[in-house]
C-alpha cells in the first residue's frame, strides 16, 4: 500500500468526477495534499465534503481547454499559493465518437485542445524546476485504450490520446536526468458518468460488456494504479503506457 506525506502536493485534474475524483480522494486519504481542479464549482465542493481529510484537499475551478498557453503560468501561480508540486495526475478529458464522414477541422481542434494540448502545456508548466519538487516528482496522464486500439468512430479521440502517449515518452526521456517520471494509463471502458453517457448515447450496453472478459472497469481499478504511479514505490518506472482493459480481446 502507498503512503504520502502532507508536504507531498499533487495536482489532480478532472477531479470533479470519475477517475479524477476517485484518484484525488484516494491519494488524499493516503496522506497527500491534493489540489483538485475541475470546471464545476459545485461538484468540486461536493468532492471536498466527501474527503475525510478536507484540510488537505484544495479546490481550484479551471477550464483547461480555454487557453492552454496560459497553463504554465497557472501552475506557477499554484506553486506560489500551495508550494512545489510532487506530482501531476491528469485525468481531465473528453470522449467523442465521430466517424470520418462527420470530422471537421474545428471539431478536431476543439477535441485536441482538451485531450492533447491541455496535458501538453500542463506538462510544460509542471516540468519547470521552479514548480516541481525535483527528484521523485512525477506526471501521470490518463490516456485511453483508444491510444493503441481505437474503435470505429475514435479517429480523433484515439489520435489525440496516441499523440499524448507519444509525447509522454519524449517527456520521460527529457526529464529522466532530473529524476522526474512520466507515464500514461490507458483504460478501456470504465464505468464513469462520462462513459455511462457514452454507452447510453450509442446504445452499447450489452455489446460492450460482452467484449470485456473481466467485465467493465471501475474507477477504483484505475485510481489505485494512478496512486501507485505517483508514489515513490514506482521510482523505476517511466515512459510507460499501461493498458487496463479487463482482458479485452478484439
Amino acid at each position: 500500500m502507498f503512503h504520502f506525506r502532507p508536504d507531498e502536493i499533487f495536482l489532480v485534474t478532472g477531479a470533479s468526477s470519475g477517475i479524477g475524483k476517485g484518484t484525488a480522494l484516494l491519494i488524499n486519504q493516503a496522506g497527500a495534499t491534493v489540489i483538485a481542479t475541475g470546471r464545476d464549482n459545485s461538484r468540486l465542493a461536493a468532492l471536498q465534503e466527501q474527503s475525510a481529510e478536507s484540510n488537505r484537499l484544495h479546490c481550484e475551478v479551471k477550464d483547461l481547454a480555454e487557453n492552454p498557453d496560459s497553463l504554465p503560468n497557472w501552475l506557477m501561480d499554484l506553486k506560489k499559493k500551495f508550494g512545489k508540486l510532487k506530482g501531476l495526475i491528469h485525468c481531465a478529458g473528453l470522449t467523442r465518437t465521430e466517424p470520418l464522414s462527420l470530422t471537421n477541422y474545428t471539431g478536431a481542434v476543439s477535441l485536441f485542445s482538451i485531450d492533447y494540448f491541455a496535458p501538453l502545456l500542463l506538462a510544460k508548466g509542471f516540468a519547470d524546476r521552479r514548480v516541481n519538487t525535483g527528484e521523485g516528482a512525477s506526471m501521470t496522464f490518463i490516456a485511453s485504450l483508444a491510444s493503441v486500439r481505437p474503435d470505429k468512430g475514435q479517429g480523433l479521440y484515439g489520435g489525440a490520446k496516441a499523440a499524448l502517449v507519444n509525447t509522454m515518452q519524449v517527456m520521460a526521456k527529457e526529464l529522466a536526468g532530473r529524476r522526474i517520471r512520466v507515464n500514461c494509463l490507458s483504460p478501456g471502458l470504465v464505468m464513469t458518468p462520462m462513459a455511462e453517457q457514452y454507452i447510453q448515447d450509442y446504445n452499447l450496453g450489452e455489446k460492450q460488456k460482452e467484449r470485456y472478459p473481466l467485465g467493465l472497469g471501475r474507477v477504483a481499478d484505475v485510481s489505485a494504479l494512478a496512486a501507485f504511479m505517483a508514489s515513490d514505490q514506482a521510482r523505476w518506472i517511466t515512459g510507460q503506457n499501461y493498458i487496463l482493459d479487463g482482458g479485452l480481446i478484439g
Binding site: D128, R129, R130, E174, L175, G177, R178
Partner: protein
Amino acid sequence: MTRAEFLNELKDILQRDDSLEPEMVLKDLEEWDSLSIMALAGFFDQHFSKILHFTDIESFITVEDLMIAAGI
C-alpha cells in the same frame, strides 16, 4: 533585445529563481544541464537567427559569453 532582457529570458530558460549576472560561470549553475542547453539552442535560433550546436554552447564559459554570441 537589451542585456537586461537577455538575462531575464535566460533566467526563464534555466527555470531559475535567482537573478543572473554576466560574470557567472555557466557550469557552476545548478540549472545548467543538457535540457537547458537544448532550450538555449532553440532560443538563439528563434530570437537571433543563429544556429548554435550543443558543443558551441558547451564551449561558453560565462553568461557574458552567451551575450557576446547573441551580439548584444
